[in-house]
Subunit: 465 residues, 2 copies
């Protein structure tokens, strides 16, 4: 049994860590969960984090670790149970060290992604985690949720970009493992266990991260494809030619473009007639090879192969940014229209085209809907989001929302896919994990949770409900 | 307390799994440990593995999982304690499925690396794990030890190449997690926990692995550098030009070349005067860019920058293989000479050059030695091996062997490095881990071990002594 966070607990905590319980600490972007907080603490260093965790463990008070709060599955709020202490990493936001010659940066958990990207750029390198919420999302949360984004195809997700962590474990132990090593086979991979554990096994307080070289040549193109099948064949063709130089490969649907027309009529779109399917291709190539020419050759070959019917290659950084803006504005246009249900799914690449067809047909038999299917096609990761038909609002679908999501997820799981590709489990999908998770895997997860957090204070209700 | 494996236990196991206790099951390549075995079992499928594990768990009999037996830290043998059952994966050696269009292959744990590489090549792809023991090393062992090799710089270690595993946990539960997904954020990362756990948390029985596209253009060069510093600057230069296209960057010392002269006088070496330091550079580049020309430009720039004084660029596949043979034959030449002590260490890149200098000076003060320092410089991973001076044998150093290794490892750890970069901990370095491991990390490792393997039957004495 857990106890609520009280003023008596606050008096046991390090001087000056307490914060006002501002509403922002209790919110999440989709507004599905409303958090409660008895206390908000913002420690300034890892020792203060450890002291807070020890005090909470002793008092059996739940802790909700909080980064930028941009997570989409409710992992950053605790709507019920014993009123928690919210532990915000906002004041631990320093860039500790940059090692350009090593390709390493060491940062505190509260640093925003944008801060880290800017520090990398200043050192002539790039930190290749890229997602729309970079101004707010913090490194600690990005690691805790193993965030994805648009460059996973080339550089991997957040896990692949982390060499070491400093963390506070659920009984207040400080784990010093901020290594700057590419190779270190000295025992169990606790770093990767904490990454993706969504704050349920401890609190990441700092991380050493990979900085990649900036490619000598970069280019962006948008190409009109007939179908998701054609898009995947185009991806294969591009990868065969580019030797790992395809840094992003994003699918955009005609529905997404039409939502942009409604929500952002001033946003310039390259094709006057909105095509059914588009891909955005980004490449990063060696010196001596023009990215424009490489994209031109790809476009020509793809056209001859019947994969592509139209296209545009950015002729400047400005144009490249405009093409990216189309992709990056889609989530905002979605919010403007108001989704009935969103699905962050992944599938084996060879199942994707069939899934899009079959799921669309299945859903058409369940309700009148519009589907905006878009996302990181190169990773097999789709955002498969359902919207009301024109003239209806999302409320009209309240009665069947769960059934729709259940049907989508069931089809995904049956085809070897995942019901949470990059957003994580949080509270939103804890029941899904209990339903579809492999029993042996769930049992081992529970055993690890109980072993590391016997009091059960770390973000209760997240992942393992 | 554990019990010895007996005939009574054998009668409880599935029909036909027992094997003769051949000497090969009790050996490891460096001859430092001699295994014991009461039983050897070679199951044919995951259900048989699970049945064996359940029977051993019930009888409290230790299990030593065994792949190809090429590991260098004694993780594949149990020299003392209750006589174990050796569980060999040799009969689970099928390539289950190849998905070229997905870039995925699903294989059983007993398949050799060579088998997997050949299956990948047949499908027009590559499996980019590459190491000298590929004909013997098996996928299960390579994953259990998170093997490295020569292409980690571009493709990561074994962990980075694994998308999913099927495994038997220490109480006989079968974990089905053979996903073919690039993104799957559904709970704790048990895959990465099993990878690198060296058989102490369960037995990997199959894996889905990443197949990479074959680069359109490849090239190999060998360049003479003045010093390790110059080699690292050359690496930076190469990476800045090649946009991730540097697939290998190996350091070779003059000592290594002279050992080759002694042990393999017929092996052709490109430089008549043996230089102090060489690097082998391999690149994989996009279509439209000649690898030869790219290496030529790199060589010219590096020469002008004073980094490189001589070089050779392979003009054919044959020549490339000859250059690689120099690198790959060094371990064999080392065995011919007979090392006093070998060290598989990694360091932050910016510490490497200074470490080589300081460690060499320190050792010169301790004993008359020859040092062969070589390895995966791009990963910060050196094999820093000590040899007798001419006219002495390794036995002459018996009294100081431990002191030498201790001094090397202490210097490595003090500079933020690892005393086991790619070989793992096994039995050989369990005491090192206990000495130098972070206490909070060790505590969490122990808690996880006890939670998943309460009877302590899985490869006892490995990692956590």
């Amino acid at each position: 049994m857990l106890n609520p966070a009280t003023e008596a607990l606050a008096r046991l905590l390090p001087q000056g860590v307490m914060r006002e319980i501002a509403p922002a600490y209790l919110e999440e972007p989709r507004g599905r969960f409303r958090g409660q907080a008895g206390l908000v603490a913002a420690p300034r260093d890892v020792e203060e984090v450890a002291a807070i965790v020890r005090a909470c463990e002793k008092a059996r008070v739940p802790i909700v670790p909080r980064g930028g709060g941009t997570g989409l599955v409710g992992g950053q709020v605790m709507p019920d149970g014993a009123v928690p202490l919210v532990l915000s990493l906002e004041r631990m936001n320093r860039i500790r060290d940059v090692y350009p010659e090593e390709g390493v940066i060491v940062v505190e958990a509260g640093a925003t992604l944008q801060q880290v990207r800017e520090a990398a750029a200043k050192a002539g390198r790039q930190f290749p985690l890229a997602l729309a919420s970079q101004g707010t999302a913090q490194i600690g949360g990005l690691l805790a949720t193993n965030a994805g984004g648009v460059n996973v195809l080339r550089h991997g997700n957040a896990r692949a970009l982390c060499l070491g962590v400093e963390a506070v474990l659920p009984q207040g132990q400080i784990m010093h493992d901020l290594k700057r090593l590419r190779k270190d086979n000295t025992g169990y991979d606790l770093r990767d266990l904490l990454i993706g554990a969504e704050g349920t096994l401890g609190i990441i307080t700092a991380a050493s991260l990979v900085l990649a070289p900036v490619p000598a040549e970069t280019g962006v193109a948008m190409m009109v494809v007939e179908s998701p099948e054609a898009a995947l064949t185009l991806l294969s063709l591009a990868q065969a030619r580019m030797a790992g130089g395809v840094t992003a490969f994003e699918l955009i649907s005609g529905q997404g473009l039409r939502f942009l027309d409604v929500a952002f009529p001033d946003l310039r779109q390259p094709f006057a007639t909105r095509p059914d399917w588009l891909v955005l291709v980004e490449v990063g190539l060696p010196a001596g090879l023009s990215a424009d020419e490489a994209l031109e050759v790809l476009f020509t070959d793809a056209t001859e192969a019947g994969l592509v019917s139209d296209g545009v290659i950015a002729q400047s950084g400005q144009q490249a940014a405009e093409l990216w803006a189309i992709r990056e504005t889609i989530p905002e246009a979605n919010r403007h229209v108001g989704a009935i249900a969103s699905h962050d799914i992944s599938l084996p690449l060879s199942e994707i085209a069939r899934f899009i067809r079959d799921a669309s047909a299945m859903l058409a038999g369940m309700a009148d809907l519009r589907i905006n299917c878009f996302g990181h096609l190169g990773d097999g990761n789709l955002h498969f989001n359902l919207f009301p038909v024109e003239g209806k609002t999302r409320d009209a679908y309240d009665a069947i929302r769960r059934d729709l999501s259940r049907a989508v997820h069931e089809m995904v799981v049956a085809r070897g896919g995942s019901f949470s590709a990059e957003h994580g489990v949080g509270r939103l999908k804890a029941a899904d994990l209990a339903r579809w998770g492999d029993p042996a895997r769930l049992g081992a997860m529970r055993a690890i949770k109980d072993a590391l957090d016997p009091a059960g204070i770390m973000n209760p209700g997240v992942i393992l409900a």
